[in-house]
């Protein structure tokens, strides 16, 4: 957005290009916000986000601590280990009773031939976390440790991926349809007689970027509130920085995508053709979504993704969450993103300007660039 302002101002146009762009942006926003379909789909999306955060919270509560009965000093190690709810039992038979009745998940009693000199009693299967704790294990040294729960990381990756994809596709399609609507209804010629094409484009990008960012912020806020409300403070603490950077990178990343959506849509004159002409841009949205889910714990792939402008909004927050990104890395990613935006807006504005009045058959990309 910021890069379009000087561009627009440099145009020989009415003094107030910024005011014009804002008028266009305002219409984009009010038109969308008044549409029932938009309100319903946004409501459903927000509800889904809230539901998944709350469910996650309850599920982790339900799992809860493993209840263990301990006889004598057999379970000393358990006292310090997290995730165990330890209660004393008088003797082995009392412990056995507790296990059979289901009051505890397992019991640790003295004696037994195994290492550590204790026996674990359980009904049909012993809690693996308990067995693991009491076993003697070879020393494991991770060279590049991921200090996060891999399952949780997987779900967080899916979360980033889905929010990124849903918002980018929803508002990318919106801006594409808005461009074609003006072309199809021919109102664009009336508009262009008073608003320079670049200012029109800037207004559309600004309007839809504000909408997309507002939706993402709403999702982040709702997810954060949900986490705090269900007592997942720990998760929130870990995710906080990543969430903020997700919002920031998404804002700029979306400007990039919106420009491409608008420019490609300007090539066609009918709503029916929007899907096919914008499909290459759709790929740019889908690829990061798939990659982040498949490679959510691969530091090298994530490293590359976090700098490629199209995937940075999901790649960088993921690395921040996993704790494998330095503090300055998101800044570099933003810088790369900004340079890309400047280049793409230059190209996109050219395509838009050269195609917007050419109704009829699809304008060839090469012709649109050449003018």
């Amino acid at each position: 957005m910021t890069t379009t302002a000087p561009r627009a101002a440099a145009q020989p146009g009415p003094a107030n290009s910024v005011g014009l762009a804002w008028l266009v942006a305002e219409r984009e926003i009010t038109t969308r916000v008044r549409s029932k379909a938009f309100l319903v789909s946004t409501g459903i999306l927000l509800l889904l986000v809230l539901a998944s955060v709350l469910l996650g919270g309850f599920a982790s509560k339900l799992g809860g601590d493993t209840k263990v009965a301990v006889v004598g000093t057999a379970g000393e190690v358990l006292e310090q280990a997290p995730g165990f709810d330890v209660q004393q039992a008088d003797d082995r038979s009392a412990a056995e009773k507790l296990v059979r009745s289901g009051d505890v998940d397992a019991a640790v009693v003295p004696g037994g031939s195994g290492a550590g000199g204790v026996t674990v009693l359980a009904k049909d299967s012993a809690p693996s976390s308990l067995v693991q704790l009491l076993s003697v294990q070879p020393e494991v040294k991770l060279l590049e440790p991921l200090d996060k729960n891999p399952m949780l990381a997987y779900f967080i990756a899916i979360g980033f991926g889905i929010v990124f994809m849903m918002s980018a596709v929803t508002f990318g399609t919106t801006i594409a349809q808005s461009v074609v609507e003006e072309k199809q209804t021919r109102i664009v010629e009336i508009l262009l007689a008073t608003v320079p094409a670049r200012v029109m484009l800037a207004g559309k990008i600004i309007g839809n970027s504000i909408l997309a960012l507002a939706q993402v912020i709403a999702i982040i806020a709702l997810a954060s509130l949900g986490m705090l409300a269900t007592g997942q403070d720990l998760l929130f603490g870990d995710l906080g920085t990543a969430l903020i950077w997700f919002g920031v990178l998404f804002a700029f990343g979306f400007v990039l995508l919106a420009t491409l959506y608008a420019a490609t849509a300007a090539l066609v004159s009918r709503q029916e053709d929007v899907g096919s002409v914008t499909s290459p841009v759709m790929m740019l949205v889908m690829i990061p979504y798939v990659l982040i889910i498949v490679f959510n714990s691969d530091p090298e792939v994530l490293g590359i993704m976090s700098y490629v402008p199209f995937s940075a909004p999901v790649g960088m927050p993921m690395r921040l969450y996993l704790g494998i990104a330095e503090w300055w890395e998101p800044l570099v990613a933003i810088a790369i993103l900004l340079v890309t935006i400047a280049l793409v807006i230059g190209l996109g504005a050219r395509i838009y300007e050269n195609s917007i009045l050419r109704t009829g058959s699809r304008v060839k990309l090469a012709e649109a660039i050449k003018g």
Binding site: P12, E182, T185, E189, A193, L357, T359
Partner: protein, 296 residues
């Protein structure tokens, strides 16, 4: 006054406009006529800055036209269109504001126009829910809502129902009467003939004739004359024998012929010598005739 100076424009290898130059005078209605593909729409788009010229200049009152001037023009493109799902009044206010009006002024102007065009009851309906006639009125309103200082209308009468034609005529006359330059293109030469003070004829990308309607007629009336003899048995056949005369139509005592002014006078003199003459006059060509002649 809007002036065009040697405007040229090509699309690829196709030269669409070649040194186009004419004036649209203030307070006068200028009709812009030409066949399909002659370059009317391209010329109008260049005046509005929707399209750039390859070379040449557009001036407003002697100074190179700016985007700010153009924002105060009223424009109706040949391809009509407004936002189908936007309410009529809201749409007009939006367009007025895009043309630089303040929000309050835009609202005032839109409301006044909607009332004048008889759309008050439908002002808060979406455009697509209006009848075709009312959609046309909304379209007219869209060209006028920002109180333009000049009008450029591409085929403003095409597709209009008879009532909308009258509305449009009234609007154009009002504007010209206020001293604004009005340029409109049309296929319908009879409308142009009836309405216009000035006429510009374009063919194949270049201007073939431009000037006031009377001057054009006078200019093209020079060579054709009609002679009608009096008396039931008179026969004008002898006119064919006159030197320097080419008869194009002969019917009993009536003859139409092309000739120089002197030769025509000679014809009249011999007609009077032969007997009574009912009528002798130079033929004032209709716009359609001038058009056919200049685009040849």
């Amino acid at each position: 006054m809007i002036s065009l100076h040697s405007i040229s424009r090509s699309f690829g290898d196709r030269r669409v406009l070649r040194d186009v130059a004419f004036d649209v005078a203030a307070g006068r209605m200028t009709g812009f006529v030409g066949g399909n593909g002659a370059g009317k729409t391209t010329t109008m788009r260049i005046i509005l800055g929707v399209l750039a010229a390859d070379s040449g200049r557009v001036e407003l009152d002697g100074a190179e036209i700016t985007q700010r001037d153009r924002a105060r023009f009223g424009y109706m493109p040949e391809e009509r269109g407004l936002y189908p799902k936007m309410k009529v009044l809201e749409q007009l206010v939006y367009l007025a504001r895009l043309h630089g009006m303040s929000s309050a002024a835009a609202k005032r102007s839109a409301e006044g126009l909607v009332e004048r065009l008889g759309l008050s009851e439908r002002a808060n309906d979406t455009l697509e829910s209006l009848s075709l006639g009312n959609q046309q009125r909304a379209q007219i309103a869209a060209a006028l809502v920002h109180e333009p200082i000049a009008l450029v209308l591409d085929e403003p009468f095409s597709g209009l129902d008879p009532i909308a034609v009258e509305v449009m005529l009234g609007v154009l006359r009002d504007f010209a009467a206020q001293g604004a330059p009005v340029l409109f293109s049309s296929h319908q030469l009879d409308i142009v003939e009836r309405l216009c003070d000035d006429v510009v004829v374009i063919a194949d990308g270049s201007i073939r004739a431009a000037g006031s309607r009377e001057a054009l007629r006078a200019e093209h009336s020079g060579s054709t004359f009609e002679l009608e003899l009096a008396g039931g048995t008179a026969d004008a056949g002898w006119v064919r024998e006159q030197p320097g005369v080419e008869v194009t139509h002969l019917d009993g005592r009536f003859a139409r012929f092309d000739a120089s002014a002197d030769a025509a006078q000679a014809v009249l003199a011999s007609a009077v010598a032969r007997g009574p003459v009912a009528r002798f006059a130079p033929v004032t060509p209709s716009l359609a005739q001038i058009f056919r002649e200049v685009i040849r």
